[in-house]
């Protein structure tokens, strides 16, 4: 059993000596999942578990890690070294992909907490009706196009464009709410870490995050469909 500690990365030097992050490796050089569990994305990148993070710093960390660990660096060192590099790089890639995007980062933090029924988000009826009606409007626009009814299609397109603007505004509001909830969560998480136990504020922050993310998902689905129908 070896615990490898972070050393300075030296990009551009292919070879098995490329440094590794502090993961627990077994004697064969595999990450010991039994010890580390599925490695936590924050831990893989050497970051504290916080939602507010400096994405520039994240980019730099990712690039330097991947430069040292990527299997292409080990191509001439035999299949075992390549296999190990594949596995390590996949962990770095997965962590980066998840944490680089704010929404995905929030979803990941919620996933770590588990599916908690009492924190579940129930979308308000008005939102659902609104989303439903907009979906029907997109359908109507596509039908009008399919039937070659230029006038109806133009009218429908105007309606859809207006609706898109409104949805984008709502999405921006939801993002602002999520950012505020993320700051609350970070504070609660820091306090919980210090207290050595989960504080009630953490669950409150999570509930707010779940609500924001749930709301955002409806708007995003709709925006994807609106964008797609606009380019058709």
């Amino acid at each position: 059993m070896t615990v490898l500690h972070d050393t300075t990365l030296q990009p551009g030097t292919p070879g098995p000596s490329a440094p590794l992050r502090p993961w627990v490796l077994d004697d064969r050089g595999h990450v010991d999942l039994e010890r580390t569990g599925t490695p936590d994305h924050f831990a893989v990148l050497g970051l504290p578990r916080r939602l507010g993070l400096d994405t520039d710093h994240l980019d730099v960390t990712f690039r330097s890690l991947v430069r040292g660990l990527h299997p292409d660096r080990f191509a001439v060192h035999g299949p075992a070294a390549v296999a190990r590099a594949q596995w390590h790089t996949s962990l770095v890639n997965d962590a980066y992909r998840t944490l680089r995007n704010f929404d995905r980062r929030v979803a990941y933090v919620l996933e770590l907490a588990g599916d908690l029924r009492e924190e579940r988000y129930q979308p308000p009826a008005e939102l659902l009706v609104h989303v439903f009606e907009l979906n029907e409007a997109i359908d109507a626009m596509q039908d009008a196009r399919d039937e070659g009814d230029a006038e109806a299609a133009a009218q429908a397109e105007r309606d859809v464009r207006e609706a898109t603007a409104t949805i984008r505004e709502s999405r921006a509001e939801v993002t602002a709410r999520l950012v505020a909830a993320a700051a609350d969560w970070d504070a609660a998480q820091a306090a919980s870490e210090q207290a050595g136990a989960e504080l009630p504020a953490l669950a409150q922050a999570r509930t707010a995050l779940r609500a924001g993310l749930g709301h955002a998902r409806y708007l995003d689905n709709l925006l994807t469909r609106l964008d797609f129908s606009a380019t058709q």
Partner: protein, 127 residues
């Protein structure tokens, strides 16, 4: 790992797609959503004088499993009384469609939609 033709059929040829007049006092409408994936589902029932659901329609913007679940739900409630329909459980849909764990919320959505439609109908009767 074969899956039943019935499932495929509900995926490929969903039944009862469409809508009923919303303002009709004998029509109950439910619009529900699944926050897991952002799907939305509208389900409507038309109840006759004897309290039997004589027609049901749905429209779902979402994944195939949500569409299949709502298609199956409308098939089931037709011909049932309002009371019988209230007993429908999402687990029945899960079993019938063989839904995998990640798609169970789709069946929950269908159950929620029926409840919402029934509640809307009852509210209209009281009014």
């Amino acid at each position: 790992m074969a899956y039943s033709d019935k499932v495929l059929d509900h995926y490929n040829n969903p039944r009862n797609v469409g809508s009923l007049p919303k303002s009709d006092p004998t029509v109950g409408t439910g619009v529900v959503g699944a926050p897991e994936c952002g799907d939305v589902m509208k389900l409507q029932i038309k109840v006759n004088a004897a309290g039997v659901i004589e027609d049901a329609r749905f429209k779902t913007f979402g994944c195939g499993s949500a569409i299949a679940s709502s298609s199956l739900a409308t098939e089931w409630v037709k011909g049932k009384t309002v009371e019988e329909a209230a007993n429908l459980r999402n687990t029945d849909i899960v079993q019938e469609l063989n839904l995998p764990p990640i798609k169970i919320h789709c069946s929950v959505l269908a159950e929620d939609a029926i409840r919402a439609a029934l509640a809307d109908y009852k509210a209209k009767q009281k009014a």
